[in-house]
Subunit: 387 residues, 2 copies
């Protein structure tokens, strides 16, 4: 008897561990069993936790003998399931597997009446599915699934070492499924936390935004525009940013005006121009933002955008009067988006202009107030009709 | 030749997949190899990405022959590493493994001069470590580690199927290491995101807190006290809460006054009592908080604490006048913590009282304004000197 398919199947089972979506690989395994072991059909019953049911997930075989997927569902009352889940006499199994001709003989041996009843019902199930061997997969005490094998195409029996090999294979499959589930759970959890963070920041930033009557909706527009500018810059020079940069830009955009929470409403919402004292208070907002966010180590890079978004390319900005490329790019991007949005909305000191007029203004101050490449990116977005 | 250790080692290697800290299991594997295969010593060289070096991570063997851990470090220049990493003539290996007596003979065979040079240097390395077989572990193209085996204690050669088995084992180990690293990375990422969320919420809540001159530091004290009360309630009745409840309570505590951001500063910081109109505006803050947080699906349960933290047990609270157990427990807990903190701090309408006086007041209104069991938990915390 040859186990020449052994190595191929083993390596497929091992690879499942690193493919964290084992469905595809289980299909491959079943297909390989059908072809290499030359059985009439093969399938895998997989446990569905939500439904407490075993569902035929993959099934392959000669035409007519393939059990329709989703057709076979076995709940915990099913005799086959009860047999593998329960504490029955181990001797009805071959090394843990239920093999039809072996088990059939057991009906006439010395086993308890209950086990005999259950076994009879299970064998009847196997007859319906034309299944010769059922190989269970456990993780610890839990039955994760059952590999179902039809008869061999040459009608020979399964050899002992073949069955042993399938038992080992089924345990690999169980391990892979378990591992994939743990991964999936972790990934879902991570996704959830990411969304929670962004959503909460958005909500709180919007609430703070709403305090300043003149800048309603400003934050979300600045975020959107900043990200568009960054993507435009990336088109030209791929190496400038990575995912992390975009994530930081997103956060910095959301929080760039967070320091305004520390500015009195009377200044924030004053109609008409601010006096020198008020202007000074207002210009404190980037550093107030830094004070709020500084304790959060993970936001270190994003905070640069908050701190320097009122710096100007020619050095005439605040709080530090940084010049040119000394200003972190994250801040230069927010600055352009912020300036553009200020021009197209009503402010105490001016009426809203059209986007076209705003773009002309941006072009005029590019290289003076604003970083020239960043300003150019915005101009291009406008020309392409994207803003 | 017997491979009677095979099953044990195989099952150990498989189990590594689910133990996401493989160090312990690698140690076990090496120890088992030494004992079962009866080699003089065995060790694993593991790749350290940060240092671009292979470090002897575990090593076991007869006294004197055990290579001191951390002693053996091989960088990418080491001939042994270059041999396994490079594209050398495959025929110097036995099924991918470098076996001393086999490889030694190769020096006189038809291999390129470069390979011969490298092989000579590698064999010299093996002599130094008294190593008879080096079995590499790859993940895709990357050399993750090398299993080093000393000679057998009975001085026999390794049989072909033994070597084949070790090659398969080494590939299991590589798979387990790779899998564990992916898990570790995901877990670290998840931890980071959790911290980021909590830290940002803390920072923003504190900033909003700071707007209300009377309640500086109030939020963090309410969070602390609420969590202490919940733990006290859990001591009495384990089934009341789970981790998720505590997490929601933490978030709800942080955000319970978030709606105050929508209340004018003139009302928030008014000295002396509020008039009816102002009081009405002030009492809007729980529902304003709900409006801010409502879009965040993940905060659904926490929002109940924000919405109902001004409800009273006897139904005299706001916004809905809920009574008794109709008030979500999360809100009843925040309510007790909030009330206690209000009493012990200066407010526009009263001077701060001592903790003892505050506890007496809580006792007096327990079952009227406040949920009796929750109030009792606070009284017990006070008696135990915990608050």
């Amino acid at each position: 008897m040859s186990l020449d398919y052994k190595r191929e199947l083993e390596s497929a089972a091992k690879n499942m561990i690193l493919v964290h979506e084992p469905d595809v690989l289980m299909q491959m395994i079943v297909r390989m069993i059908v072809h290499k072991v030359k059985v009439r059909h093969a399938g895998i019953l997989l446990y569905d936790e939500d439904k407490d049911t075993y569902i035929l997930t993959v099934s392959r075989g000669s035409v007519g003998l393939k059990i329709p997927k989703g057709f076979a569902r076995m709940d915990s009352d099913n005799p086959l399931i009860r047999l593998f889940r329960g504490r029955v006499d181990k001797k009805i199994f071959h090394n843990g597997a239920l093999v039809y001709p072996v088990a059939k003989k057991m009906l006439h041996k010395n086993i308890s009446g209950d086990t005999k009843q259950l076994l009879k019902a299970a064998l009847y199930q196997m007859e319906i599915f034309e299944t010769v061997a059922c190989i269970p997969s456990y993780f610890r005490q839990d039955l994760l699934g059952i590999l179902l094998l039809g008869s061999k195409r040459n009608d020979r029996k399964f050899a002992k070492d073949e069955l042993n090999f399938f038992v080992a294979l089924a345990s690999d499959v169980a391990m892979a499924i378990r591992n994939a589930r743990l991964f999936r759970e972790l990934e879902l959890e991570l996704d959830k936390k990411k969304r929670l963070f962004i959503h909460t920041t958005v909500a709180l930033a919007a609430a703070i935004d709403a305090k300043d009557h003149y800048t309603h909706g400003h934050t979300s527009r600045v975020v959107h525009l900043s990200l568009e500018i960054a993507k435009k810059l990336m088109q030209k020079n791929k190496s400038v940013f990575d995912e992390k940069f975009l994530e930081n830009l997103h956060i910095a955009g959301l929080l760039h005006d967070i320091g305004k929470i520390a500015i009195p409403e009377s200044i924030l919402n004053k109609e008409g121009p601010l006096n020198d004292e008020e202007k000074k208070r207002m210009e404190e907002h980037p550093l107030r933002g830094v004070t709020i966010l500084e304790p959060i180590k993970e936001l270190e890079d994003a905070v640069l955008g908050v701190k320097y978004h009122h710096e100007k390319y020619d050095g005439s900005g605040y709080p530090e009067g940084l010049k040119g490329d000394k200003i972190p790019l994250i801040a230069s991007i927010i600055s352009v988006a912020d300036t553009f949005d200020a021009i197209i909305t009503n402010r105490p000191y001016h009426q809203a202009l059209s986007k076209k007029e705003a773009v002309e203004e941006i072009e005029r101050v590019s290289g003076k107030q604003l970083h020239p490449q960043v300003a150019t990116a915005l101009l291009e977005l406008f020309r392409e009709g994207k803003i």
